[in-house]
């Protein structure tokens, strides 16, 4: 961590592998897409009841965000920018994501049935996960991100989302039998817990300035 923190501490932006590492950690922790921007909440709340399903969905999200971030960067760089139709990126990105998920589903079904049955139901679910579209849109706001940086940013964001849902699943399993006021059962309590975790994650962004 020392070289990493040292690099962050200096005024000059880090380069090379170090820069990618910083992007990864920043996306996963300080800029956690779920806990600081509250994106992808619906599946987060619905699926975080069990550790096993949370992990399954988390892995699927990591995979899809990583790949679609790279793909959508290419679309941005070579299609929408040269044609000056950046305003259509919302629609184009979601189409690319949907098609990609479909394709991946078919490939997995063909190659590995066990993986398909373990992951299969989550893949179609996350086509419309706003966190995934969010990653593709946010990366364009970052200065100087190339293909590699965008892919790593996607990977980091996905890992952050997975971290959040796994944390949440762990907490929900522990508090399942606790006595809470009736009105707070389910989503109510989950949102409060999410808020508390989010506060902790805001602490990360105080630690690292990037």
């Amino acid at each position: 961590m020392t070289p990493l923190l040292a690099a962050v501490g200096t005024a000059a932006p880090p380069t090379g592998a170090l820069q990618l590492l910083v992007i990864l950690f920043a996306a996963a922790l300080t800029d956690n897409i779920l806990l600081t921007r509250f994106l992808g909440m619906c599946s987060f709340l619905a699926v975080s009841r069990q550790m096993k399903t949370s992990l399954g969905l988390g892995v699927a999200v990591v995979f899809v965000t990583t790949c679609t971030a790279g793909l959508n960067y290419l679309v941005h760089r070579y299609i929408t920018v040269p044609l000056r139709i950046e305003f259509l990126e919302y629609i184009i990105f979601i189409v690319v994501i949907a098609a990609f998920v479909q394709l991946v589903e078919m490939v997995i079904e063909r190659i590995s049935l066990p993986l398909y049955f373990a992951l299969g139901i989550f893949l179609p679910l996350i086509t419309v996960n706003c966190a995934i579209l969010g990653v593709s849109l946010f990366m364009l706001n970052k200065q100087g991100y190339g293909f590699l940086q965008c892919t790593v940013f996607g990977l980091g964001s996905g890992l952050g989302w997975m971290l959040a849902i796994v944390l949440m699943a762990g907490i929900r399993q522990r508090i399942r039998l606790d006595k809470v006021p009736r009105g707070l059962h389910g989503a109510g309590l989950s949102l409060i817990v999410t808020g508390i975790i989010a506060l902790a994650f805001v602490g990360f962004s105080g630690m690292v300035k990037f």
């Binding site: 044609l83 184009i92 189409v95 098609a99 394709l103 079904e109």
Partner: protein, 366 residues
């Protein structure tokens, strides 16, 4: 210019992606020829894998009952999969009880055939077909019960066992965006293989019955599939009691016609429950069966006869009337058709009066 460019690019991207997916689907979704082995070799199909079991069986002419058309919402298309089905899908879970899952039951519409598969289906489904028919007549039997007579068009004849039912298709109409199937017992003589009769009671807000009562006209074309069910007369010498209410009379019309044709000499008492005289129907046919059959009696019972009915027959709840007639039912056989509530009450009363449960056969309205 930007506008044209934008729309054009979007269309192009969507088109390319759709083409890519179609192409991928063709190559990735090709599972070659798969063998479907049914009931340990009674039937065997060679099909192109990659589609749902329900669709593949339908293509081969084996009709599994399905009300939703393969969307996984009705849970009717259950088949027993012995091998080659893969793990249970999350979309199937809600429709299957724990013991059904243990027994290997699956929903045929959700199961994708990827390899050779071995299944078990009730043998009666082998004779199930899809029929096209024309409405020959629609006749009022009571205020809320109609008799629908269908003339078969394609195929032109049907073979069924008295007591079996068909699934009538109500097409999409009005605010009902999709076709639904509803089960009705065949109420006609099996010897007339070119026609079937259905007895249909109006269900308030019912999709199919509303269609029959308000939209369907003579000469309209309808579709149904069948026959299904095992509500048939058992071979024995035991005296029989039939109990029905409302449109539950339907299967007995077919059963009695068959008995009359065979000159069946078994003792048979048919208790029919209704509210008042206006709810009784097909009394002429019942009188005819009483004349033609050696030992048959039709016993209508009114629970709430109106003063103007001038009713001298049985009154009271159908269960009480049956209990009055047969204080000791041991050694008898019972056939019941009606609403779940009526059936439950009848089964309770009959068992209390000594009728063995294995000799009670029923056809429950769902």
């Amino acid at each position: 210019m930007t506008f044209v460019l934008a729309v054009g690019t979007l269309c192009l991207i969507c088109g390319v992606l759709a083409g890519l997916l179609t192409l991928a689907g063709r190559f990735l979704n090709d599972y070659g020829r798969c063998r479907v082995l049914i009931n340990g070799g009674e039937r065997e199909f060679e099909v192109d894998g990659g589609d749902s079991l329900l669709n593949l069986l339908t293509q081969e002419g084996l009709f599994i009952p399905s009300a939703c058309g393969g969307r996984g919402s009705c849970g009717l298309c259950k088949v027993n999969v012995l091998s080659g089905g893969g793990p249970l899908l999350p979309t199937e879970g809600p429709h299957l009880a724990a013991e059904e899952i243990d027994a290997g039951m699956r929903l045929a519409c959700q199961l994708k055939v990827r390899n050779d598969i071995e299944i078990e289906v009730p043998r009666e489904l082998f004779s199930v077909q899809r029929y096209r028919a024309a409405v020959a007549s629609i006749e009022d039997l009571t205020g809320d019960i109609k008799r629908l007579r269908l003339e078969l068009v394609d195929p032109e004849t049907i073979v069924f066992a008295p007591g079996q039912y068909i699934q009538l298709q109500a097409p999409a109409y009005g605010e009902n965006p999709e076709a639904v199937y509803r089960a009705y017992s065949i109420a006609s003589d099996r010897r007339d293989s070119r026609h079937i009769d259905l007895i249909i009671r109006l269900v308030p807000n019912g999709t199919c019955t509303t269609w029959v009562f308000t939209i369907l006209k003579t000469a309209d074309s309808v579709e149904f599939n069948g026959p299904y069910g095992e509500f048939c007369l058992r071979q024995s010498d035991r005296p029989m009691v039939f109990i029905a209410g409302g449109s539950g009379l339907a299967p007995f019309m077919s059963i009695l016609a068959q008995m009359a044709a065979e000159q069946n000499a078994r003792t048979c008492r048919f208790f029919f429950g209704a509210r008042s005289r206006g709810d009784l129907f097909l009394l002429d046919d019942m009188a005819r069966f009483e004349r033609e059959l050696p030992d048959f009696k039709f016993i209508p019972a009114l629970s709430d006869p109106a003063p103007e009915d001038d009713w001298s027959g049985e009154t009271g709840l159908i269960t009480d009337v049956v209990a009055r007639h047969f204080p000791d039912c041991s050694g008898m056989e019972a056939y019941l058709c009606g609403s779940p509530g009526m059936l439950g009450a009848c089964i309770k009363v009959l068992s209390e009066h000594g009728l063995a449960e294995e000799n009670i056969y029923f056809d429950k309205f769902a």
